[in-house]
Amino acid sequence: MNTAELKQWGEREAKGLSLRLAASPNPPAVDSDVIGHRREVLVCVGGACISCGAEKVAARFQDRIEAMNLEVDVRLVATGCVGCCDLGVVVQVLPDDVLYRRVTEKDVDAVVQSHLVDGDIVESLLHQPEGQATPYRNAAEMPFFKYQQKIVLENSGVIDPERIDEYVALEGYAALAKALTELQPEQVVEEVKTSGLRGRGGGGFSVGMKWSMLASAPGDHKHVICNADEGDPGAFMDRSVLESDPHRVLEGMLLAGFATGASHGVIYVRAEYPLAIKRLQLAIDQAREHNLLGENILDSSFAFEIEIRVGAGAFVCGEETALIASVEGQRGQPSPRPPYPTQSGLNREPSMINNVETFANIPPIIRRGGAWYAAIGTEKSTGTKVFALAGAITNTGLVEVPMGTTLRTLVFDVGGGVPNGRTFKAAQTGGPSGGCIPAEHLDTPLDFDSLQALGSIMGSGGLIVMDETSCMVDVARFFMDFCVDESCGKCPPCRVGTYQMLHMLEKICEGRAGEDELERMESLADVVSTASLCGLGMTAPNPVLSTMRHFRAEYDAHILDHRCPAGVCRKLLTFSILEDQCTGCSLCARNCPVDVIHKFDDRKQFWIDTTDCIHCGQCFDVCRFDAVLKE
């Protein structure tokens, strides 16, 4: 296949996709003769929707459509992730532009009969949050989507990730064709530099700079590596991109290969993402079949191969040198830099590592030009960023907003605020390398530099919202526990230092800490971050330092008053039974492991003898009448 044939193929397929093109956030310029099906039913088969039964829903739709002889009129499409993961299974009907949420297998018959046959929208399946007078009819009306600008996710939830034709229809591989026919490799690097794109994996290093370093490295064998080892707890944007639009990542890697003179690509993906691995392999096979991978790509002299390497569960492998060691089949331990991977990486040959979201940004940059991309976002952090919203937030899921959007917009407008009548306490960004941002900084623009100034980092984009039921000391302890577990053990500042810090935090959580504990922890944090070899150790103290900075009062309450204001640290809690709520069911007494809950002699209620209580909280967990009070 050559570039002219690719273009024809795309135009041909685009006609079959005209319904979705009209709804696409960035519709390409093609004439939209309506050919093909009159209606399309899009069922989201992203990771979250699958666990809500999306495959059964899709199968039932197919069944009903066939049984009622609607195949000519209606086409069923299994798309990637739509983004509003708490509303799964999400079903959209085009061109009527209706979004149904929480669709189960049982609802399918009603949708087919009422909507597809009679033309009446099924009101009960529309999204109507509490306090909203009329239900939202489609995605465009929902605030969750209103503030978003989709570049990386432009195809997610629109195309079938398992069909290359649909990717090609939406200008897929057009950037590659443009590069191969119109641009020199240096011009591609230049375009990426102009875009101002910074690495989306955490560090925020200039991507154009990295590419030019690899391009200028001597050697015939160079490697382009895609880091899909998304290890930050609370981050799932890379998973979603791989599952929803795998060809976009391949195209980004191909462009990197062309620009830097590399001929070999590796995708290092987590073993925890089996669906992503399956769809990537399928995409690679399809691309190879259509002469988009291999020798003489699109009849040019450019050759590129991509292989998948599956990781085995080690967070430290997100670090560049550790990742390379793991790709080579060894323990994933980092090594000192220099030499940098662009000088001596995989097989001691020049290599470059970018993460999934970074590669996913490349095709639109080449297609539309670096200047177009640079105009989005802020001056020093250009473009958009995908965030994974999770935790104590109404709308969980994936959102893509321009850099510089404020935290307030993201949490309250897009995310719908904190549910259950609770209040916003902090947002955690950057996973175990990041920090917590308190309510007084809600108006901070989200970009690389502003977050750093607050003691957090952008990281890969996980954003976890916490309400007043989260204890910040406990959160710091949670992340330190993570770092202790994931420290590879190579250098003592990290291996021993994180362990000691965890012990200090445990002492604080249990009320055993002395008044100088924070001071000692601060000085140890300094050693760990200064003397560790790799990013894991260098950033491990961040969650502790940022919570100490913004929530000092909470630490003091633990240390000085032996009190946990959020009611999380069990050792500091006392349990008692509210007599007027207690029904005397005896469930708590039967569950108490140390038998300190007794029945009053003269009435049916129970009471807790706190002298021997071990603060395990079983009574609180099992009580069905909210009669156990913890304070």
Partner: protein
Amino acid sequence: MPTQLAHIESVSRSGATVAASEFPLFDELNATIAHFDHSPKALIQVLHRAQELFGYLREDVIDHVSRELRLPVSKINGVIGFYSFFSRVPQGKHTVTVCMGTACYVRGADQLVRGLNKLLGVEPGDTTSDGRYSVRCARCVGACGLAPVLVIDDDVHGNVQTARLKNVVRQYK
């Protein structure tokens, strides 16, 4: 392979003794090893396949890999020990994984761990005495929108409440 030996034990090409019923498994493992050209750099990929085929990384399987990839057993054990995905002990029929990612933790994953302990009587990392369930904790399964999350075998169960734990787990017999 002499046929009179095939029904008991036999000596594989690599020198380890192998039960006849496992010949096909070793054949498949060898196919993977051949696919990677016996390269020691493919060790992790080969171990993945071995664990898939045998359920866990048995000593004789590790010996086999060691010979085929020309890597010392000590080195292979070093790699197995480093990565949390590999196991050297048999796993239960079903693996119950509690996601301990931040989002799940904030939404009460530790309560699920305690609930499982009560229900099955084992701590994370252990297997029930009837060999039915292995309980483990995962760092983050990337389904944060559904927190707290429980993964049983390949099925993801979202928004799991401790009270419903029994119903969810007992679907897997």
